[in-house]
């Protein structure tokens, strides 16, 4: 049987060669998550589509795939938000201004920005999943008049785990975008919502028949959001998820991220939900 996973094109020789970048700014988002701004040493920009990722190499330690969380309209600065959960990401989180890293990419498919034109857009993010959809929001807000209703529903573990707090406040102060935030747990000092992210859906305005949903977070969260969006009449082909699992080489070569007939790094990480929904129910996949 021939599948897309067995038909990789020949690799260009520079496919595995990282470009040197320097950290130019570092911000602590939460106790274990930092945002880094990086600039290429050669001065060239890194053009990307929202939803794409790069491979970030900490010399001598290792390389990891990271979604780009920067502004697609400002490609001179590459922005990554990283949660320290393993040896490489802990090393990335410990980087400081002036430190040097290697970057490959950008890689992968992006969010369907052209498909969103003229339609309502619901962006649903959970936890660190806000980072990969931040470029979508920035692109939507930069050309706001080209879209219908735009809204973000964002779920986090606690108020202390919320990313991009200042930006969330700024977006909330606009009259042309709905921002709803909830957390899983909080004490009485929290003045916002407590509950699962789907509880925010009845609060936002969208026309289910003319909506594109952009969903990013843990797989179970994406399944739950997609099911709820579908129950409200949004077609499975208009719901997009980002499957960021097991990516290793980023070029469809190593097979590490094979997901049924596709490689996530090459054929994704963004997929229409209806294309992967059945696979998300397969225990061993």
């Amino acid at each position: 049987m021939t599948t897309s996973a067995t038909t990789s094109p020949a690799l260009p020789p520079e496919a595995m060669l990282p470009r040197p970048f320097r950290v130019v700014a570092r911000r602590e988002e939460t106790a274990d998550t930092v945002t880094l701004d990086l600039k290429a040493e050669d001065g060239d920009s890194l053009q990307f589509t929202p939803g794409q990722f790069t491979m970030l190499y900490v010399f001598g330690i290792g390389e990891v795939p990271l979604s780009i969380s920067g502004d697609p309209g400002s490609p001179d600065t590459l922005m990554h938000t990283v949660r320290a959960v393993g040896a490489v990401t802990e090393a990335i989180a410990a980087l400081d201004e002036g430190d040097r890293v290697g970057i490959r990419g950008p890689y992968g498919t992006g969010w369907p920005m052209e498909e969103t034109e003229g339609r309502d857009v619901v962006v649903a993010a959970g936890g660190i999943g806000l980072a990969p959809v931040r470029p979508v929001l920035l692109a939507l807000l930069a050309a706001r008049s080209r879209f219908g209703a735009v809204s973000l529903i964002y779920g986090s573990r606690t108020p202390l785990d919320l990313l991009y707090l200042e930006e969330l406040h700024t977006w909330r102060s606009r009259f042309d975008v709905e921002i709803e935030v909830t957390v899983d747990r909080a004490d009485a000092g929290w003045l916002g919502d407590v509950g699962v992210v789907t509880s925010l859906l009845p609060r936002i305005a969208f026309d289910p028949k003319n909506t594109v949903a952009v969903v990013c977070g843990p797989e179970i969260m994406m399944k739950v959001v997609a099911a709820e969006m579908a129950s409200r009449g949004v077609g499975g082909g208009s719901i997009y998820v980002s499957m960021e699992r097991n990516m290793k080489c980023a070029i469809g070569f190593c097979g590490h991220c094979q997901f049924g007939p596709e490689f996530i790094c090459r054929d994704g990480p963004v997929f229409p939900y209806e294309r992967v929904a059945d696979r998300l129910r397969v225990h061993a996949l």
Partner: protein, 151 residues
């Protein structure tokens, strides 16, 4: 504000028939509550329940010497209070208004009495509340997974 006008914004009220809605209208009244006002407290008789028109209500649990923990918040269209329907008709949680709010209050004692006399009404009311319970159980289970914790 009439229940009829709230119907579009409340999935809960949208389920009721016109006849049921008229009955509930006669058993309800609108209230305004300031932030930090307590609608009901743990252990109290569950004789009034609410639907939020605007604002937000937090369901909380308190423990001596500790900050109250918020179990869940409820917003426009949401039902505040489930224990009024089932014995022993006492609240399990505290309901605190977190933003200045407007709510519809319902006479739970009278709704229970009407349900005892009218089995068709009781079936519809139990179905609406059972749906709400199932939805909250589903959400609670998802939150129990602690999906956003460190992998």
């Amino acid at each position: 504000m009439s229940l009829q006008s709230l119907r579009e914004s409340s999935e809960l009220l949208a389920r009721l028939t016109n006849t049921e809605l008229e009955l509930f209208e006669s058993l309800s009244w609108e209230i305004e509550a300031k932030a930090d006002e307590i609608l009901f407290d743990e252990g109290e008789p569950a004789d009034t329940f609410y639907v939020v028109i605007e604002g937000r209500v937090a369901l909380e649990i308190t423990s001596p010497g500790k900050s109250p923990m918020i179990i869940q918040t409820l917003g426009p269209g949401d039902l505040v209070g489930l224990s009024w329907l089932l014995p022993p008709h006492r609240w399990n949680w505290r309901a605190r208004v977190t933003d200045d709010s407007r709510l519809i209050a319902f006479d739970a004692v009278e709704v229970r009495r009407q349900c005892n006399e009218n089995r068709d009404l009781a079936l519809e009311v139990y179905q609406v509340v059972a749906d709400e319970v199932a939805s909250r159980l589903h959400s609670t289970r998802i939150r129990l997974l602690d999906l956003y914790s460190r992998p």
